[in-house]
């Protein structure tokens, strides 16, 4: 019996049989993914050893390793030297849009999430932000940089730009405790629309290093524009997010 048939036969739970001529390691990847989603492999526990998996499915160990590696790269599994391969639970979920509400880029109330204010300074707008905010070249803007950690691991860095004239109080506000949306509402600034863009980028070595992004893992860039009801831009932010540490969800309506 060839490897493919052996795998199909052993996989009697019919989990994810995506066999559009799929190689064995990919089928195993989907089986393991389904077992995690089904709760058979629980977060924080180790999955069976590579030897054991190879034996169970009657396949080559190298094939097992490829499947496991793929899920490690996605951040679903974590390999711990000398201990095994563990299921990563509860990824830091960023809510892109909530029903009827605004975006929550990060919820400080969420367990294990911490936001650190790394930089906060005033700087001249310069060409780009003078045009963005429709202010003078030398008008001052706040530049704030956050590092966001989840379970003691850095998952993203966020840079926020806000003209000083819009929110001078930002100088004394700790921007890591409240979201920008909250801060605006505290000071009676009406946020009326928000647009976000999420894309996958390579990034530059410096950014990748600051977030400890492993080779081969993609980076996400999330840009956000905050506007008032006249359409004036109030703030702009840009985040770099480790793709193996975050997922996004979004609510869709008809």
């Amino acid at each position: 019996m060839d490897e493919k048939n052996a795998l199909a036969e052993k996989n009697d739970t019919h989990d994810m049989k995506l066999d559009y001529r799929m190689p064995i390691y990919l089928q195993l990847r989907e089986i393991v993914r389904a077992k995690i989603e089904d709760g058979e492999y629980l977060p924080g526990t180790a999955i069976p050893s590579e030897n054991k998996l190879a034996e169970t499915f009657g396949i080559n160990r190298l094939t097992v390793r490829n499947a496991v590696d793929a899920l490690v790269n996605e951040g679903i599994l974590r390999r711990v030297q000398g201990k095994g391969v563990f299921v990563v639970g509860n990824k830091y979920e960023e809510v892109l849009e909530e029903h009827g509400g605004f975006i929550n880029n990060f919820s400080p109330g969420q367990k294990h999430v911490s936001i650190k204010e790394h930089t906060k300074q005033l700087r001249p707008a310069g060409n780009k932000y003078a045009n963005y905010f429709n202010i003078g070249l030398h008008d001052l803007i706040f530049y704030i940089r956050h590092f966001i950690t989840f379970d003691d691991e850095t998952v993203s860095s966020e840079e926020i730009y806000v003209p000083k004239e819009i929110l001078p109080e930002l100088e004394i506000i700790n921007s890591s405790v409240f979201t920008l949306k909250d801060i605006f509402s505290f000071y009676g600034i009406e946020l009326s629309s928000m647009s976000q863009t999420l894309e996958i980028i390579n990034g530059i070595p410096k950014t990748r290093k600051s977030l400890d992004v492993p080779d081969g893992v993609a980076l996400l860039m999330l840009s956000c524009y905050y506007r008032d009801k006249t359409g004036r831009l109030l703030a702009y932010s840009r985040s770099f997010i480790r793709s193996d540490k975050s997922t996004f969800s979004i609510q869709l309506h008809s």
Binding site: K17, D38, E74, L122, S192, T247, Q251, L252
Partner: protein, 243 residues
């Protein structure tokens, strides 16, 4: 107090602003290093680092021996509503096509039965389709539909019928809401082949359930989306939604 922009940052922002103000379009070459350095009074190495950053962000790309060019903008996958993407891309005048890679009836796995809220092992249609935009394969989609709720779906569905139309016209179910999860995965060899990218290229991996007006699942789907072609956009307008 003297406020300054760090020279490296300033060069990046000047370059971004230059592209925006001069409305440089896709595949336009930006001026030579020498000209830009002279214009802004900055060093070659500062400019080069700025270009590196914008290449890293996908704003610019380099062609060896001929210069630096403005990237083709990514297509916005606008997260406004269920099945909004197709209509929106059509409005943009893009040529859309889809091809069925495989279609069959399978027994619902635990995952599928949970998502479609049907008993384990119940028969479901599984469609794997590839969608192309402007003749470029862009999206690989796997869709599951309950056979019992949608009898003879397979006899009615063809590549040329939008699924949404069938649900609405034949089964009188309107796709009304859904929640989508977005993460990143990497193309396997087969996926890379179908999407015409190199293996291990990063792809958006989305999955979700589309529900009808009674909140009953219609479809459960998974999509692999080329990240060099698409970006996700979410627009929320409070003033509009309150009307």
């Amino acid at each position: 107090m003297d406020y300054r922009i760090p020279p490296g940052t300033e060069a990046v922002e000047k370059l971004e602003d230059f592209i925006a103000v001069n409305r440089l379009t896709a595949n336009t070459r930006i001026p030579s290093e020498r000209d830009l350095c002279e214009m802004w009074g900055i060093s070659r190495s500062t400019l080069r680092q700025a270009v590196d950053i914008l290449v890293g962000w996908g704003v610019l790309y380099r062609v060896r021996g001929s210069g630096v060019f403005v990237s083709v903008p990514k297509i916005s996958r606008n997260m406004v509503g269920v099945d909004s993407m197709i209509g929106e891309l059509r409005q943009q005048g893009r040529v859309l096509a889809k091809k069925i890679v495989s279609s069959r009836i399978i027994e619902a796995t635990k995952q599928i039965s949970k998502k479609l809220q049907i008993p384990l092992g119940q028969k479901v249609y599984e469609y794997i389709r590839i969608r192309s935009v402007d003749y470029t394969p862009a999206l690989l989609e796997t869709t599951y539909i309950d056979c019992q709720r949608y009898p003879d779906f397979d006899k009615r569905y063809t590549e040329n019928t939008p699924m949404g139309d069938l649900f609405k016209n034949i089964y009188h179910k309107k796709q009304s809401s859904g929640k989508e999860h977005i993460s990143v995965t990497y193309a396997s060899e087969n996926e890379a082949h179908l999407l015409e990218v190199t293996p291990d290229s990063p792809l958006f991996f989305t999955s979700g359930v589309v529900k009808d007006e009674q909140d009953i699942p219609i479809t459960y789907y998974k999509q692999l989306i080329r990240s060099d072609l698409f970006k996700f956009v979410s627009e929320i307008d409070k003033s509009r939604s309150e009307e």
